[in-house]
């Protein structure tokens, strides 16, 4: 049986909702209760703090020795020192990948700044988790951010065919629009954190999208893992596809198998 893994979690405090917070221990407890044995994790504070290194270091210490967590460093390529910090994170914090939150950092994922990150990652064979969006844009009262749309994501996938990419936050319609592009790309995964419908979401996706391109991702602690898990567990897609979404596809991309 495949190990279940969450491709998209944070620990820490999301700044716009007091309830959207989780410590390492709370996160681990939640994962254990749901049978999730692995997760890509980053510190939430690293998204929102200018001096993000401290948050990365604190997380690395907190999860030291915990094989369940795969630390991805949040990178803001608008900071002139991002390459130095990313190099340090690889060498001293042993991060397993990089994470782009362009909507909060004010650059285009298909622009020149992000391209530097993809080149950096390709040269070091690091996977990159790319957020199209995080919070529901309709609920952004305090800070309105742009979102990366399908055309921008398509441009990244086409321009960097050698990179291992996890695209987080795509809607159902986005995934249908990307299906033809990603169906043949074994090094690209789309996460499930924004798939709230329609009825029989995964069965309908399967009509266009190779389900081996999907990875369970929750966006914990902004969202609940139970929502996509309930959809995946109850989808009539066959056990191989289900196990792939729940962990096998991510394990393949991360070369954990």
């Amino acid at each position: 049986m495949t190990v279940w893994m969450d491709a998209n979690i944070f620990v820490g405090q999301f700044p716009f909702r007091s309830v959207a917070r989780a410590s390492v221990s709370e996160t681990l407890s939640r994962m254990n209760s749901l049978g999730i044995s692995g997760a890509i994790v980053s510190p939430m504070e690293a998204v929102f703090q200018e001096d993000s290194w401290a948050a990365e270091e604190t997380l690395a210490e907190a999860i030291s020795g915990m094989t369940q967590f795969m630390h991805f460093k949040v990178v803001n390529p608008k900071q002139p020192w991002w390459q130095r910090d990313a190099e340090r994170a690889v060498n001293s914090l042993h991060v397993r990948g990089l994470r782009l939150c362009s909507t909060y950092h004010g650059y285009l994922v298909n622009g020149a700044k992000a391209a530097e990150v993809f080149e950096f990652a390709r040269e070091r064979d690091l996977p990159v988790l790319v957020h199209c969006r995080m919070q529901d844009s309709r609920l952004q009262w305090l800070l309105m951010t742009p979102e990366a749309d399908v055309s921008e994501i398509s441009a990244v996938i086409e321009r960097f065919p050698q990179n291992r990419l996890i695209i987080a936050g795509l809607h159902f319609s986005d995934m249908l629009a990307l299906a033809d592009l990603v169906n043949d790309r074994e090094n690209v995964l789309l996460d499930t954190s924004r798939l709230k419908g329609p009825w029989r979401t995964f069965e309908k996706l399967a009509e266009r999208l190779d389900l081996s391109r999907l990875a369970f991702g929750s966006l914990w602690p902004i969202n609940l893992p139970e929502c996509p898990l309930e959809q995946i567990r109850n989808a009539d897609i066959g056990e191989p596809a289900r196990e792939g979404i729940l962990g096998g596809n991510l394990a393949r991309l991360l070369r954990l198998a």
């Binding site: 909702r17 209760s33 749901l34 329609p198 009825w199």
Partner: protein, 255 residues
Amino acid sequence: MSGFLTPEDGPLKVIDAHAHIWLSQAERDRRELVEALDKVPIERIYVSGLHGHDQSPDTVVRINDAVHEMLAADPRARGQAYLNPRHGQHALEELRRCHDLGFCMVKLWVATRADDPLNFPVYEAAAALGMPLLLHSFVKARGQLLNESTPWDVAEAARRYPECTFLMAHMGGDFIFGCESVAELPNVFVDPSGSYGEKGMIEYAVQRLGADRVIFGSDMPGSDIYHNLGKVVGASISDAEREAILHRNAERVLP
């Protein structure tokens, strides 16, 4: 409860207070709702028809007829009569027609805001017929639709008509705005349908309104009921509160 709807847990009893048949795809929607009724399973489902933001009187009749077709075919379905309060007397006639056909609730969407005086005759007629009202409500930081009700529009209507029972859809869109707006109004219930499964949303509603004022809804077939069940299954609440949300409140409050 382990937190999952697995067979070994035994099926949870579920009543869904918020589902739709879109007139443009009525046959497919009816089929999919029946699929969900059988698969989940759902003991009872409340269904309203929709089509565009502002419809002609004839179209409203066709919308409700599309729902009635399901009511006639499946005893698990209960009808919510869609009305456009801009139609004045016709809206009231359509309400009575639907009531006679067996519809037991009223559905208002984005033809008018909840506190629009055009709605007042509908509220009075619904109260007289004992029909609770499902009111769409979604407050947005951007993209608010014309005549789309905010939670405080719903609160204003509920203050004016304490004899009416209101079910505020989507917890008002933003669960904090929604719960805070109607917290002091015992004739307003909320459903968590449609939106993403935010951590803490159900707990917030239980804390501010009480578990007895949260009624499960899915917003199918545009939304996946399993995603919406995950909100309740994943909430840090007691089993009794979970059961109240999933079916007991609907059994108590909805006809």
